[in-house]
């Protein structure tokens, strides 16, 4: 959910000095704050268009990020030279630390409110079993992302920030991404199936 499958950037002990980077890009925090304020306003207004916008836009971004990074960009990075791999990882993963939790929060909070407004989360709704299936899919992704992938993401960035990163530590942490990429991909495809079914009745 909040992380993607990127291959391990193995680092040699005598690797050349790298440009420093921020684990959490502070310049992005005001943007995150503004998006969350807009989300709260949308939910408080309880109007269809803003709720639909947040749920569809953020949900689409979430699914696209997961599938694109896990199955398109990830394998490409795996074939890149080690210095280029490290460079891309240290530029990409800090941004994802801000982007992914934000769009996931927007998707889920606006989706719940949208379901209340439209009545689709009521147990009497015609496609209730599909809605419950979506809960399960999101639940699986949440557990994998929050308990397994996000901690690994942060730990990899901490290791890469050291003057001499340990390739064994990075390799071990990145195995988590490889092991869970298939599950996350399957859950995102299931999300597309369920949401299009619910939207068309």
């Amino acid at each position: 959910m909040t992380d993607v499958a990127l291959p391990a950037p193995a680092v040699a002990p005598d690797a050349p000095a790298r440009a420093d980077f921020q684990i959490v890009p502070l310049r992005g925090l005001p943007v995150v704050g503004a998006v969350l304020v807009a989300l709260v306003v949308a939910i408080a207004s309880n109007r269809l268009w803003p709720l639909e916008f947040f749920h569809v836009a953020a949900g689409g971004l979430w699914t696209s990020f997961d599938l694109f990074l896990g199955f398109v960009l990830g394998p490409i990075i795996g074939r890149m030279a080690v210095p280029a791999r490290i460079d891309l990882t240290t530029k990409l993963m800090p941004k994802l630390l801000l982007i992914m939790p934000t769009i996931v929060t927007c998707t889920l909070a606006s989706g719940w409110q949208l379901g209340r407004l439209l009545g689709t989360i009521d147990s009497g709704y015609a496609n209730h079993s599909w809605i419950v299936a979506s809960y399960i899919v999101v639940g699986v992704m949440a557990v994998i992302a929050l308990a397994v992938l996000e901690p690994a993401n942060v730990a990899v960035l901490f290791e890469l920030k050291k003057p001499r990163p340990d390739p064994a530590v990075i390799g071990r942490l990145m195995k988590r991404f490889i092991y869970t990429a298939g599950i996350t991909g399957a859950m995102q495809v299931a999300t597309l199936v369920i949401m299009t079914k619910v939207a068309t009745g």
């Binding site: 980077f21 684990i23 719940w112 209340r116 949440a142 996000e150 942060v154 730990a155």
Partner: protein, 145 residues
């Protein structure tokens, strides 16, 4: 690899999170009618117990880099409190009350505490005691304490 022998915090964290999520799904699937809270309460209790066990076992683990753990976990805790706060506000705004609100609130508390704990643990477990990357968030260099 500078990893210490530590309790299975991550594995138990996955179980704890899975229990919380299952409880939440059980409640959500019954709304807006009367919600049977027996199973969600049992799942919440089990999840909270696992979280407490994780906290206690980390507090007693020798050779664990606690300064780094707290440095990372406190910022993650702030972020996840914001997320949990938004979700709690949505529940309250939608008229969720009574036992359901209590169970959902406590579930969010477990969520907002356990995720930062897992992030801090995963970072600190690979760093030897005495090494504390100062102000990693703003990009300062590594320091030894």
């Amino acid at each position: 690899m500078s990893e210490q022998r530590l309790p299975p915090v991550t594995e138990l964290g996955v179980v704890s999170m899975a229990l919380i999520v299952t409880g939440g799904i059980t409640i959500a699937a019954q709304l807006p009618g009367d919600v049977a809270l027996g199973l969600p309460v049992a799942l919440l209790a089990a999840s909270a117990l696992i979280m407490v066990w994780n906290v206690v076992s980390l507090a007693r683990a020798p050779g664990f880099n606690r300064p780094l753990f707290f440095e990372v976990a406190r910022w993650a805790l702030l972020a996840y409190c914001v997320i949990a706060g938004i979700l709690e506000w949505v529940f309250v705004k939608d008229g969720t009350r009574g036992g359901v609100l209590v169970v959902l609130t406590l579930s969010l508390v477990v969520f907002a505490v356990h995720v930062p704990l897992l992030i801090g643990f995963t970072v600190a477990r690979f760093q030897p005691v005495g090494v504390r990357p100062t102000s990693q968030i703003d990009g300062a260099a590594e320091a030894t304490v």
